[in-house]
């Protein structure tokens, strides 16, 4: 897509936080799947059905390897997106393991995907939801962590804020959660494509992400859960593929990740996800992290030098524990208008609340204009961004 011309200008895609651009091998993996081996999975005996099952289960294996899941395929559940993963977590694990009064601890910088399912569960069974506050330095304020975790059964926090770029200390949080007898979930939607993820090393119990934010296709997400936890979670959606038996008087669910995958799964999407995982693994996630770190440092520096106080970066100014998500607030120019002017330059940035309204309220903002990098981003993208920003400021100044 980056070779596309828009109004005579090349496209400058700076919206990877919202969704990433799949490289050719990912798109081709899906086309090839449909052209050569499309069949429904699991129940087939014939060749292409065997192949499609191998594609689907192979993706499970690839994902398990990518996040270094201790028990591999037994721990990887395919959902439709990270949002469904959190709904599955709240409504299967949560509904089965939480009692009225139990606390779930989130943070003020969570995406709605990691907030609303918990409110829904609260409205159903009466749990308590607590939020780790965010400091003026755009980082989690962990001063009251021990109190917040007192009586908590789960701590669920994002690995990286999709608004601030803040990278949270997941390892430390997981340790704290476990010290209080709580489990730990990480929203890896913004982490998975930007730095190495090792669930064992992080010490987390659950991890959720979407393929479309990691160079993969829409329509597929992942919930990873430790095998012993997953094994005891009740089913979520009901239907074909998740049952051992169905009678006129009831049903018996099956075991393993299949229990949570009712209906025909996203098979072509799994082929695309596999290709994305292989693409990222070839780049090397440590390289990707370093590359984006350098891009971010360059962009933050030049934003500051060019606009001084006129353009405020809503997020940490240092690049330590910070990813390539840069939210901008421009004095006197609304985020929507910035994005509109930037669009004339072929620059794609996203205005709005980025599905993080509690965080926006915390900083008294209704919207920011967010530019975000991916492995395919270039310093030239920042050049165009700065030029377009200057024009926007002039227009409204």
């Amino acid at each position: 897509m980056m070779s596309r011309m828009v109004r005579g200008l090349p496209l400058t895609y700076l919206d990877t936080s919202a969704t990433s651009l799949p490289p050719r091998p990912v798109i081709e993996a899906m086309s090839r799947y449909y052209e050569l081996r499309h069949s429904n999975v699991h129940r087939g005996v014939y060749l292409t059905a065997e192949e499609s099952t191998a594609v689907y289960e192979g993706a499970r294996k690839d994902v398990g390897t990518f996040i270094n899941a201790p028990n591999g395929v037994n721990e990887v559940v395919f959902t439709k997106n990270a949002t469904e993963s959190f709904n599955l977590l709240a409504k299967s694990w949560g509904a089965a393991n939480l009692k009225p009064g139990d606390a779930v601890v989130l943070s003020v910088m969570e995406h709605h995907a990691n907030i609303v399912p918990w409110f829904q569960l609260r409205d159903q069974i009466g749990i308590e939801i607590r939020f780790i506050p965010v400091g003026d330095d755009y980082r989690l304020d962990l001063n009251s962590l021990d109190e917040l975790l007192d009586g908590a059964k789960l701590l669920s926090v994002t690995g990286m804020s999709n608004v601030l770029g803040t990278i949270n200390p997941i390892k430390q949080l997981a340790q704290a959660a476990h010290d209080h007898g709580a489990l730990m979930a990480i929203d890896a939607a913004q982490t998975i494509a930007h730095s190495p993820v090792d669930v064992g090393d992080l010490g987390v119990d659950f991890l959720a992400f979407s393929a479309h934010k990691m160079l993969g296709p829409t329509g597929i997400g992942v919930l990873w859960a430790r095998e012993e936890i997953l094994a005891n979670m009740p089913p979520f959606l009901g239907g074909g593929g998740m049952i051992a038996d169905v009678r006129l008087d009831g049903f018996t669910p099956t075991s393993g990740p299949a229990r949570f995958e009712a209906g025909t799964p996203p098979i072509a999407e799994a082929a695309g996800l596999s290709a994305a995982v292989r693409y990222l693994s070839n780049l090397g996630m440590a390289n990707v992290a370093q590359y984006e770190h350098d891009l971010t440092l360059d962009a933050l520096t030049r934003l500051h030098e060019t606009f001084h106080g006129q353009v405020r970066v809503i997020g940490p100014n240092s690049v330590t524990d910070r990813g390539g998500v840069i939210s901008l607030d421009v004095e006197g120019v609304h985020a929507h208008d910035i994005a509109q002017v930037l669009d004339e330059f072929g620059v794609c940035v996203r205005p709005g609340h980025h599905c993080a309204k509690p965080l926006m309220r915390r900083f008294g903002l209704s919207a920011t204009a967010r530019a975000s990098f991916g492995p395919y981003s270039l310093t030239q993208d920042t050049d165009v961004l700065l030029e377009a920003l200057a024009h926007a400021i002039k227009l409204f100044g």
Partner: protein, 152 residues
């Protein structure tokens, strides 16, 4: 950047920089109505006073982009002092203006004839129809006003 000039006409930028009828009114007696654009975070509060079928006062507060702010500011100047029937007509005309794009695009229909003179300064918002995602910004104030008047 001629596209942009069409969207951001001087009169729009002026209303954005200096919005008219800003503020709130004590409610009651004023009717208070809130409008959200969940997609972009625009929030609007409209307070109106209606006496004997006439909108006697209007105040607007909230946050939004230049289009939603200018639209609400322009609207406030146009509807103040008008009868509810007149306002109803203006709302309809304005919303028609804002749907032209869609119907022309999707059905190849002839755009409905709209009396731009009846809209006065509001006609400055005409350029918005070429930016479909911004139409919701322009219509937010109008939907919120209608909501308020429905309670009147």
């Amino acid at each position: 950047m001629s596209n942009l000039d069409d969207l951001y006409r001087e009169i729009i930028l002026d209303h954005y920089r200096s919005p008219r009828n800003r503020g709130e009114l004590p409610s009651p007696p004023a009717i208070r109505s809130e409008g959200f654009n969940p997609l972009c975070g625009d929030e609007l509060v409209i307070c109106v006073e209606v006496q004997d079928g006439v909108l006697t006062n209007i105040k607007i507060s909230g946050q939004g982009c230049s289009i939603s702010q200018a639209s609400s500011s322009l609207m406030s100047t146009v509807v103040k002092g008008k009868t509810l029937e007149q306002i109803d007509e203006t709302i309809n005309t304005f919303k028609q203006l804002m749907t032209v794009h869609e119907s022309t695009l999707q059905h190849g229909d002839e755009p409905a004839k709209i009396d731009l003179r009846a809209l006065g300064e509001l006609a400055a918002l005409q350029g918005v129809v070429n930016f479909p995602v911004r139409i919701k910004c322009a219509t937010l104030a109008w939907n919120t006003l209608r909501q308020a008047l429905d309670e009147a």
